[in-house]
């Protein structure tokens, strides 16, 4: 009864009932470095309850007056048991020491897992950098994105593809956050490397479903990554030297225990070898992470973080291309009381893409820029109820393209595609409630709005139809604008508002297992217009407006979670439906298109599947097996019964649909000098469109294509192996190093990235040519820390 009343009265403050209650709160950090720790379990065994630290290491729980033993535990750290006498509000900060083996480990694990089983959060995976660093990857470089593709429900569109796909969703439907700032491109060099320097990362969580109300703006997933703050005790450096790229991170205190800095950089340099092959082209990337943290006092902390990354390509003297993300954010943690934690973020984020065609003498610049304000509150009302609420406001400026001639006698005229502006706002409230010993609920509501702001030169069409169907040729054609209007920047061309309910519930079957269910409604207002099967950096973001509707997704998921002594099992099934999924008509022309509405049709998408994750989390041998069985498809019917739509209005496979996806990864610590790792991946081939014939026109052979995405490439499979050698594991010296030997694609399978059909002019015969990108790649990296 008490708990139900508590549930009803959770707005604002309320008085205790017959018992006095006090709050235990504090910040948990790592003893050696002073880094705050995310997701540390704070368990009160006697009450069968507990909480976890938030993204800033803060926890707060309100309990009845009494004496308690509190257990603080987290994987990789020695657990601590603390006796607390709660007769008034108690502030307990704690420092945990890293721990490689512990006798209590199994018991502590059980406590950790119990909390995970009970929590209503499902469809989420948290990976620590220790886990990520053990997974063998291409060229010996640890890669966050490649690590998450080993989880169920996560795939990429193929080698060389930028971005990743979650539960059948498109690559632009993932919200990627680095210290709360949005990133628009998650990889370097066409997907070979991710933009995340693994040394700078503290923690990452991937939400594939059951997305809490505090996140919004993308419909398929949230990849929430937090960087380290920087060691507040001592100066340290860490890094790695590899065959293709190297990295270095420096961190240390500015004022011991109060302020710290962190600065890291990475760069590739393999292009420097190209001149040896008579090739003076250039391809490299670099990125820079920087952070300043300052604890003003017990209740206030400031963080200033920045990220800058670029990819650079140059083909001899004729063509130069560079693109990348920039972010800068200022965050202020403030404790209003020990029950009310807040974080205010001011963020600037920029994605730039530039092209210089020297032989035609012009520059092309495009990009997206945004200013973002977020104010998030965590209100720890009682031990059964945690409330989160806040607001989020983003102002966008989209530059679809700016063409400028580089010389006076260039044949190209300057040209500017119209800038677009938008303002996205959201407010949310979210409650996590323990209804009873067995039932835990997360119920939230997010209200999001989007205003497409005024711009110069908006095209108007007859009947508001930017695209016309020509029935005699059975094709869609661009409509000619009948007028062009300009709006003032503070005017609104079109606005949207959507309510996004988010609901999740878990039911504890017994101490070791539970079932969970969730429903979420997500809205997405900006869309990546990409006509290729996987995103390229050249793809442009288009905001919703007069001709483009926001995407709306509904996802339901149901799961069963079970812990065994050293293993855990998660089985989930999901169904996702998306409205207003855009697709291009056949033969769409995207180059410098000022009016994408003329080539887009509105349709729907759906995905459903079964995911299974079986993990071993303890002991010398650790790893997991992930299996996903799923289907992802789209349908774009004509707007009237006469129109054919795309693929005659029938369902067709999304370009990233993979029926089976099996990932097995394992790490084995043989001794403290040697450890080994392996990955095995097997996936159904991606859909593709094959020709069904050929014809000749003007002396060229042209393939005749079949239905969109109706064929498949052959399956994708590979084995990766790695061995890590630590020469002096027990050394007391400050310098610690290890060698990582790895082989990517150990049996050298030629996985098809694409198959192109063309004429072999030497023998005048058509051929199917398979492009495979990675054969067997051995590599060596030396990682160090001092």
């Amino acid at each position: 009864m008490k708990k139900i009343l508590t549930f009803l009265v959770f707005f604002g403050s309320f008085t205790a009932f017959s018992q006095e209650k006090f709050t235990l709160s504090g910040t948990i950090s790592e003893a050696e470095t002073g880094e705050t720790l995310i997701g540390v379990n704070v368990i009160i065994p006697s009450l069968q309850t507990g909480t976890v630290t938030n993204q800033y290491g803060y926890y707060s729980i309100t309990l009845p007056k009494g004496e308690y033993e509190i257990v603080y535990s987290s994987i990789g750290f020695a657990a601590q048991k603390v006796k607390v006498s709660l007769s008034e509000n108690v502030k307990k900060d704690l420092a945990l020491t890293t721990d490689t083996e512990s006798l209590d480990e199994v018991i502590i694990e059980a406590n950790n897992e119990r909390l995970n089983i009970r929590s209503s959060q499902m469809s989420a995976n948290t990976l620590s950098t220790t886990t990520i660093k053990k997974i063998p990857v291409v060229l010996g470089e640890v890669d966050v994105i490649k690590a998450i593709t080993l989880l169920p429900g996560v795939t990429s569109a193929g080698e060389g593809a930028s971005g990743f796909n979650i539960r059948g969703g498109a690559a632009d439907q993932n919200l990627i956050l680095l210290d709360e700032a949005t990133l628009y491109n998650s990889s370097h060099l066409f997907g070979f490397f991710s933009v995340f320097n693994p040394d700078a990362i503290k923690d990452l969580t991937l939400y594939k479903g059951g997305i809490p109300a505090r996140y919004g703006g993308r419909i398929s997933s949230v990849l929430d990554i937090y960087q380290k703050d920087g060691n507040k005790r001592e100066y340290h450096a860490s890094g790695g030297i590899g065959l293709v790229a190297s990295r270095l991170l420096l961190e240390g205190p500015i004022k011991r225990d109060e302020a710290s800095f962190l600065i890291g950089g990475r760069s590739s340099y393999a292009h420097l070898f190209l001149p040896l092959f008579d090739n003076d082209n250039i391809a490299y990337f670099y990125d820079l992470n920087a952070k300043l943290s300052y604890n003003l006092n017990d209740n206030n902390r400031l963080y200033l973080s920045g990220y800058f990354g670029r990819d650079v390509f140059e083909i001899s003297d004729s063509f130069a291309n560079s693109f990348g993300n920039t972010t800068l954010n200022l965050r202020w943690n403030h404790l209003f009381s020990d029950k009310l934690f807040s974080n205010l973020s001011l963020i600037y984020s920029d994605y730039y893409y530039g092209l210089e065609l020297k032989f035609v003498e012009f520059n092309f610049d495009s990009g997206i820029r945004n200013f973002n304000l977020k104010y998030d509150f965590s209100h720890y009302i009682s031990n059964d109820v945690d409330l989160r609420y806040g607001i989020n406001s983003i102002y966008y400026k989209f530059n679809p393209g700016d063409v400028t001639p580089t010389t006076e006698d260039s044949g190209i005229n300057p040209f500017k595609l119209t800038d677009k502006y938008a303002w996205e706002n959201a407010a949310y409230v979210d409650a996590e409630i323990e209804l009873s010993d067995k039932i835990s609920v997360q119920a939230g509501l997010r209200l999001s709005t989007f205003n497409r702001l005024g711009q110069d030169e908006l095209f108007l069409y007859e009947n508001d139809n930017p695209i016309i169907y020509n029935p005699s040729l059975d094709i869609y054609q661009k409509a000619k604008p009948i007028d062009t209007v300009s709006f003032g920047r503070s005017e609104t061309i079109k606005s949207f508002a959507n309510l996004e309910p988010r609901f999740a519930i878990s039911y504890l079957l017994n101490e070791d297992s539970s079932i969970k269910a969730s429903y979420n409604r997500m809205t997405q207002y900006i869309h990546l217009i990409s006509n290729t099967t996987s995103p390229t950096p050249f793809d442009i973001y288009a905001p919703s407006g007069k001709y483009i509707e926001p995407q709306l997704a509904d996802q339901v998921a149901l799961g069963y979670f079970r812990n065994f002594e050293n293993y855990s099992l998660e089985v989930e099934t999901f169904y996702k439906k998306v409205k207003n999924r855009l697709d291009y008509v056949d033969d769409a022309d995207l180059i410098a298109n000022d009016a994408v509405e003329q080539i887009l049709l509105n349709g729907e998408a759906r995905a459903y599947g079964l995911e299974m994750l079986f993990r071993k989390n303890t002991g010398k041998f650790q790893g997991w097996i992930a299996y996903t069985l799923s289907k992802s498809e789209q349908r774009t019917p004509g707007r009237t019964p006469v129109e054919s739509g795309i693929n005659n209005g029938e369902w067709y496979n999304s370009p990233w649909d993979k029926t089976h996806d099996i990932s097995i990864t394992g790490q084995y610590e043989l001794t403290n000098k040697w450890s080994f790792g392996a990955n095995f991946i097997f996936q159904t081939g991606i859909p593709t469109t094959y020709p069904e014939g050929q014809y000749e026109y003007n002396g060229v052979i042209v393939p005749v294509y079949g239905a969109r995405n109706s064929s498949r490439l052959s399956s994708y499979n590979r084995l990766d192996l790695s061995a890590t050698w630590t020469p002096k594991p027990d050394s007391n010296k400050r310098w610690k190093g290890e060698w990582v030997f790895s082989i990517y694609n150990a049996y050298n399978r030629k996985n098809a990235a694409s198959i192109s059909f063309r004429e072999n002019t030497d023998i005048n015969q058509n051929e199917a040519v398979r492009l495979s990108i990675f054969g067997i790649i051995p590599s060596v990296t030396y990682n160090f820390k001092f």
């Binding site: 083909i315 004729s318 005229n413 291009y584 094959y690 063309r758 492009l771 990675f774």
Partner: protein, 265 residues
Amino acid sequence: MKKLFLLVIFFGIFSSCEDVIDVALNDAPPRLVVEANLNVWENGTSQASVRLTTTAPFFNNGVPFITDATVTVTDENGTVYPFTYFENGFYTANLVPQLNIEYTLSIIYKDETYTATETLYTVSPLEFVEQRNDGGFTGEDIELKAFFTDPAGERNFYFFEGISERGDVLDVYNDEFFDGNTIFGYYLVEDLAPADEVQFNIYGVSEAYYNFMFILLQQTGGGGGPFETQPATVRGNIINETNPDNYPLGYFRVSEVSTLNYTVQ
């Protein structure tokens, strides 16, 4: 972008590759393919030809010709120009296309009638060719630029051909970014050497033809780039009046042409 992509693959990896594989493909039923061009030069010479073939299974060698169709072009004044079969699927006639006159193509094949309508698009003449011996992506190839001046203030679309024994280059241009300027058609083939003969042709075309050829060239690997579309069979401007579902491929184009012959220095 293909080159860019391959460049990225190359660095440090050395193990990516392209290889020819066997793929089992479906064979769609054959469809009529029409290559109908009415060309006229500034000096009054003309060439009118219609080539009829059908589609064939993808791995076949060559496409079948159609020798038994009835081909005519009628202008808006009612004058009928009959075409007679020549060889290799080509039908020819004596026709000098004029400005501002609508021409209608009619093909009767297997009891079905296919029609299309077009008008003449003019073109600016090719003026001169500039040669550079350190061009191309490797900086070592001979590259040629054939210059012409685009008329200012009107939308113009061009189809460009550079033809020689070393290889042909086909491209389409639209003057959105170079309206009124002197611009060039770009010709680059491997192993171009001094004394090679190259013929440059530039045709004035409609916007619809520009879109048609743009997609076509992408699908044949002649265009390509980061803007590649989902492949789908590109339709032209010819319809089957008898049976609309049995639409033909290809295009009926009426163009003014400018030709420039050049010998590589």
